[in-house]
Symmetry: C2
Subunit: 337 residues, 2 copies
DNA sequence: GAACGGGTTGTTAACGTTCACAGTCGGGGC
DNA sequence: GCCCCGACTGTGAACGTTAACAACCCGTTC
């Protein structure tokens, strides 16, 4: 192609020439500036349409210092919880007119979190959501000097940043109280990894409920969220005589527990009642269908964007703390003692 | 505070002044240009370190016309398959030095795909990966005049774009042949939604295996990937006398099938053998543990980035088609007829 | 001693927007 | 008739980087 025009994408100046106005007027039209004669506006819009012009957001970001991009750092988005949360975040962010740039961490240690944050900051994101369910991640966040508005999901006492989370303690309570109300003497617990804030919250809720009912809390069995660890915990529990009720810290482990019980000939819910946590789509079809505590991940994602955008567009503000309540889902894995 | 220096972030010019060189030399150091005296280089690096300078990637993108950002558009990243694929994509992209911007679609229709693509193009991504498992998405892709290098995951005959996919037909064959080899007269099938290419491929593989063995293919039961739809198909199957082997198009539906069988008193694998597809983490702990076909989503994600990056950095090229083989995973849900 | 050439550095001009400011035009008040 | 003001539009300069080119230094070569 000659030097005449080639394949070059049209820029504002081209539109301006086409419409017989200045590039600034084009800019005004694009930004909905009020003081543009409506006739001029249509002329510009026609030119835009004719040339197939699209504004260059990179150039815009350079001068405005806003990229309208939000960063998300999350741990293992393969898991149902993080995946759902990130999904909610993405939907909400796009609805609010932001792009979403994502970083999934394999393991969360301080260095990993810092790197991810740096990485996103380099990219020029306007704000960051950190799905930081581990204590170590939350601590990293608290220590980091972040130049970018940030909100933490499940972040515990995450220093100066705003936090959106599910009330894990209430969830643990809900599960345990349900089992106690069915007449069980006490409730056993298969917990998540101790580094996780969610695991810790559920343990606390379980303990509080038992204490309030004046029951002894048995020693919790620790899992790692995986079905396998639930299976192993289930084998231990099956070998004990006095177990009639178990609160498992997530549905995947609960699946493992159910499997172990089945193998050992322990019948659920006739001999032992089981409650899970999360309400993954599969839970309803476990054998037997799992009574569980539902977390509204979607709401968590949405809220975190709301908080972040408020912070971004409303100037600096108080840090907020938003707690989403969990709900009880009755199915058939629990029965009277 | 004053006009002296304020809180302004340092730019290249500041580093240049600090090091007593020109901003261009700083740029050269940052870009590993060979012709910089090593003494100068260290002086510049020291200045960068002292000032805490970080280069502005937005400005850089403006002039180079490369953002080093890749776009990903995917359908419902809440599902295990897409989530794992996107995870693999993200890991590989970051390793290759690219940022990842993501768009999750609720529903995939032509307009949705086009919007997502436009959206990402506006943002200035260098390339796009479309996780397009539906026929409609693939068709949308084929029709679209895309100005950006694109690769499709599970994209079927996706027009001019490169494709990375799992060999679904081979997977369907694997499952069916396994069941036939156990002596079952024929194999029933619970399929995915007909609009999905993956569903179609699995049906084709199942049919081919039956045909090759000279067996009649029963009418497949259609599901929608959800455990519930599997449950409903399972109830139908349980009510039939002659069903001894079922190939279910994904593990979630297989869970539903198992549930229905359990409820109806049909024993797996004693009376009926069941094979799933995907190998989700839960499958191993179903009752009974599910024999299934494993898809290496991670590899798919990685490969798609490899193909895309090759296209990006190697100039325009032939479109590629990369097929990842599925593998058979033996567990206990299948037995001799 | 002049011309050459490679390594090293600096100068100037893009890139495509938005911002700050300066016009121009027309109508209303005195 | 004059001034002012508000609506509208244009001009020039940022933003922070890389690209293109020019310039310099110093050692070789003829």
């Amino acid at each position: 192609m000659g030097s005449t025009l080639g394949r070059r994408l049209p820029v504002m100046a081209d539109v301006a020439k086409e419409a017989g106005v200045s590039h600034q007027t084009v800019s005004r039209v694009l930004n909905d500036h009020p003081n543009v004669r409506s006739e001029t506006r249509t002329r510009v819009l026609e030119a835009i349409d004719k040339l197939g012009y699209r504004r260059n957001l990179v150039a815009r970001a350079l001068v405005t210092k806003h990229s309208r991009t939000l960063g998300v750092v999350s741990f293992d988005t393969t898991l149902y919880g993080p995946a759902s949360t990130v999904y909610g975040i993405e939907q909400a962010a796009r609805a609010a007119g932001y792009f979403v740039s994502i970083v999934s961490l394999k393991s969360i240690d301080k260095a990993g979190v810092r790197d991810a944050l740096d990485y996103l900051a380099d990219q020029g994101v306007d704000g960051i959501v950190v799905v930081a369910p581990q204590r170590s991640a939350a601590r990293a966040l608290a220590d980091l000097p972040l130049g970018v508005p940030t909100v933490a999901v499940e972040g515990g006492e995450a220093g100066d940043v705003s936090v959106v989370c599910v009330d894990q303690v209430a969830g643990g309570r809900l599960a345990t109280e349900h089992l106690l109300s069915l007449g069980h003497e006490t409730v056993w617990h298969v917990s998540g990894p101790s580094d996780w804030l969610e695991a810790e919250g559920r343990v606390a809720g379980w303990r509080a409920a038992l204490e309030q009912a004046g029951r002894e809390a048995p020693r919790p069995l620790a899992g790692d969220w995986s079905p396998r660890s639930g299976y192993e915990a289930g084998r231990s529990l099956a070998s004990m005589r006095n177990v009639t009720a178990v609160f498992v810290a997530n549905d995947q482990m609960a699946l493992g527990v159910l499997r172990a019980f089945t193998e050992q000939g322990v019948r659920v819910p006739e001999q032992v009642s089981v409650v899970g946590f999360d309400d993954i789509p599969e839970s309803e079809f476990f054998s037997p269908p799992l009574t569980t505590i539902r977390q509204d991940f979607d709401a968590v994602g949405r809220h975190s964007i709301e908080v972040l955008v408020r912070q971004l567009e409303g100037g600096l503000q108080e840090r907020e703390r938003l707690v989403v309540p969990p709900t009880f889902v009755a199915r058939v894995s629990t029965a009277r003692a």
